[in-house]
């Protein structure tokens, strides 16, 4: 029903910078003063409520543009004439938001929904660029204790990436403290149906990840006694995610999960794990829209 849609969400606990409220207050007070002065006209009809999170996280679009990732339709007007037009080249931005409720609980701090560009289909999906600009935007606001990442991946919309293979990042992530150890849970969810991912695919995906990681990640054997085997009715640990609540993910169910240990824990590493799982699914012939998550098995100390 939906066109190919990518959603990336970062989860954790955000501690806003001490100056943040002051900066936001200055901004909102200036706007309120102008509203009182009648600056807003009666014909304004846009119904949306302003959201602080959405307001700030929309800066991720600017950040993407700075990297050269065009994500919106854009017309440049100079001296009364349109002199340039640009269309999305990386992904087609749709919506962005987050939850910064300051209660110390794990929240979905930032998410971004985008259309996957399919004319022509691209090599892979823009998981890493979106996660990067979201993480960078959160870093402008304060300090994030990152606990997990989820990704809605319309795998049929992208071609197998023959230009870059995830195993090429193994030396990058091997360059880390060999004594550090983080236990991570990986899950795959999808809609039921003929081409659905099932638990039968778990072994092939787990083996594919183990091989791609080339020692930089230790994939735990099935049945290993670890925190990753802990199940919860509300979903994987480290995530504030309810697939049934999401417009695009309603009806999806967890097909399988497995655990691994890593030498570092960051959005960068989580993206790598998610991308390896996606490639493992593709290699196993499971090219369906899926949600892949990577999250800490236990809350950070």
């Amino acid at each position: 029903m939906f066109p190919p849609t990518v959603i990336i969400g970062l989860h954790g606990v955000l501690r806003r910078a001490p100056w943040f409220d002051r900066v936001v207050e200055d901004f909102t007070e200036a706007e309120a003063a102008e509203e009182n002065a009648g600056e807003h006209t009666a014909e304004d009809t846009s119904p949306e409520e302003d959201s602080l999170e959405e307001e700030v996280l929309s800066l991720a679009l600017d950040r993407a543009g700075a990297y050269g990732w065009q994500t919106v339709s854009r017309w440049l007007t100079e001296n009364g004439r349109v002199t340039a037009r640009h269309e999305p080249t990386a992904w087609a931005h749709e919506e962005v938001g987050g939850d910064w409720t300051p209660d110390g609980r794990v929240r979905q701090l930032a998410w971004l929904q985008a259309g996957a560009l399919t004319d022509p289909p691209r090599l892979g999906l823009p998981v890493r660029p979106i996660a990067l600009v979201l993480a960078e935007t959160l870093a402008r606001v304060g300090t994030m204790t990152f606990t997990g990442l989820h990704a809605l991946l319309p795998l049929p919309a992208a071609r197998r990436n023959t230009a870059f293979h995830q195993t090429e990042l193994a030396p990058w992530f091997a360059l880390a403290d060999p004594d550090a150890r983080h236990e991570v849970v990986l899950t795959v969810s999808c809609h039921p149906g003929k081409d659905a991912v099932t638990g039968d695919d778990a072994a092939a995906v787990r083996e594919a990840v183990r091989e791609m990681a080339d020692g930089a990640v230790e994939v735990l054997p099935p049945g290993a006694r670890s925190a990753t085997s802990v199940t919860s009715p509300v979903g994987p640990p480290g995530l504030d995610l309810d697939l049934g609540r999401g417009v695009h993910t309603e009806g999806m169910h967890e097909a399988f999960r497995f655990g691994c240990t890593t030498r570092e824990w960051s959005p960068d590493l989580a993206v790598w794990l998610v991308e390896m799982v996606a490639d493992g699914l593709r290699a196993a012939g499971r090219v369906a829209p899926v949600v892949v998550t990577a999250s800490l098995a236990l809350p950070p100390a």
Binding site: E54, E55, T77, G80, G246
Partner: protein, 167 residues
């Protein structure tokens, strides 16, 4: 320095914009044409768009399904000042559907906003799909009317999206 145009010119600009669009949600509605010229200076229409406003960009997302509202599609438009004296603009976004070879407006959003983006600085138009089975083509048209300065006369139309959303 802020340029204030007063409610009268803004209302006039609004009437002009409304006159350029057909009522939504009627089967016998007339095809909708985007506005061909924008200039809200408090002295009425007819002034050629020209220099003085400096440089700005008009931005918009393609028509898409809402992240939070089930069975609804959205379109947004906003602007950013690059240089020059402009401070605020009236942004209008029309959400349109194609039927029998013509484009019709389903809904329209108007907001007078500062330069920027995000929920507080953009105009939005939404449509609640009557079903999620029928396939239609959608697009949005964005007009940025810089308050107090002539801007441009260009129709900003986003790429057509094919969505399963009944109208």
């Amino acid at each position: 320095m802020r340029i204030r145009t007063g409610a009268a010119s803004a209302a006039l600009a609004g009437l002009l914009a409304v006159a350029a669009t057909a009522p939504a949600q009627a089967d016998d509605r007339e095809p909708t044409q985007p506005p061909s010229s924008t200039y809200s200076n408090g002295h009425g229409p007819g002034v050629a768009a020209g220099g003085g406003v400096g440089a700005f960009v008009t931005e918009g997302d393609r028509v898409h399904f809402s992240h939070t509202v089930r069975g609804a599609i959205n379109a947004h438009g906003w602007w950013k000042r690059l240089n020059g004296p402009a401070k605020k603009a009236k942004v209008t976004v029309w959400l349109q559907v194609k039927n029998n070879g013509h484009w019709y407006t389903l809904n329209k959003g108007v907001k007078t906003v500062y330069s920027g983006g995000g929920s507080g600085k953009r105009a939005s138009a939404a449509w609640k799909c009557t079903n999620l089975v029928a396939k239609y083509s959608f697009r949005s048209v964005i007009d940025v009317d810089i308050i107090g300065y002539p801007d441009d006369a260009h129709k900003k139309i986003t790429d057509t999206q094919t969505l399963f959303c009944g109208t």
